[in-house]
Symmetry: C2
Subunit: 180 residues, 2 copies
């Protein structure tokens, strides 16, 4: 039960439509918590009926009408009390490790291929994160308080990807010693 809180968090700095929220969940917060537009529209209704957000309906011409959501005081209080609760993280479910547990029982090339593929993804991710770092967080010591948490998240992402890229190299080396 934390997608609602992720949405409230995204609304801290700016009012957003469901559509714009869904885009945010593709980048930024979405690097650490992803959600589809279907989920977001569903949750926004729930949050609205609970008083956590306000809606402003904005008629448009040429495009469908907008519903711009904003955080209410009650929404802020929901965040405040949620912050004190225990932090849950469902351990990442990653099929790659199941595949690795199959080494020695299935054709090794397929596992190697999966690791190579994964490394490409990690490299891409790392490049993206570094680009964001260079653009917006070049001097972390002078960051306003409000940005420090976001920066730390990005830093976590960078380190994770770095670790993963290096691990892929080591994994490929060891997998190369497995007889086919």
């Amino acid at each position: 039960m934390s997608l609602p809180h992720a949405i409230l968090t995204a609304l801290l700095d700016e009012d957003l439509t469901g559509y714009a929220l869904a885009k945010q969940f593709d980048v930024s917060l979405g690097f650490f918590w992803q959600a589809s537009h279907q989920q977001i529209y569903r949750e926004l209704k729930g949050l609205h009926s609970m008083g956590g957000v306000n809606v402003l309906e904005v008629p448009q011409h040429g495009k469908p009408d907008k519903r711009v959501y904003s955080l209410t005081n009650q929404g802020r209080q929901m965040l405040d009390s949620w912050i004190t609760q225990s932090t849950r993280h469902r351990g990442a479910k990653d099929e790659l490790f199941i595949k690795l547990f199959n080494v020695g029982s299935v054709p090794i090339e397929q596992v190697t291929e999966a690791v190579k593929q994964r490394q490409i993804e990690h490299v891409r991710r790392l490049e993206l994160y570094r680009k964001i770092e260079a653009r917006s967080y070049a001097s972390p010591s002078t960051l306003p308080d409000r940005k420090k948490g976001v920066y730390l998240s990005l830093l976590a992402g960078i380190r994770q990807e770095q670790t993963a890229v290096t691990w892929c190299d080591d994994a490929l080396n060891l997998l190369a010693t497995v007889k086919p």
Copy 2:
């Protein structure tokens, strides 16, 4: 759709009951893919009706009867063809990052507390992994092929935890500069 394959994988080396499988999913494979006993019993039924596993009913006295599951040839084939399919990983959903995105809007002590708590968990995890490494994977170069993938998973776990512990230190340092 990969819990079935995780179960088949766990059955590669030994026949197990649903109960024992659930325990495996608390350690070993479970470090990278967790599942509750309810899920496992459900999936075992499905796998059985699809011919991926055999059941041997073992009457016991004093305890409920056992159903010992073993992998069939068809089960092995299911793994073989699954291995070639694309590897999915749902990005880890971690509330800690949502909390970090709240820095500057909620009481900072709570966020700091959450990071400290998380660091303790990572340290514990790291110690556990290292214990397993020392016990079973002291000389990775002489490992039989069948164990190499498992070792690589463990190595990934160790590196991830190490990275996380270090990051927590850096995070705590930067969070200490946030005005309350």
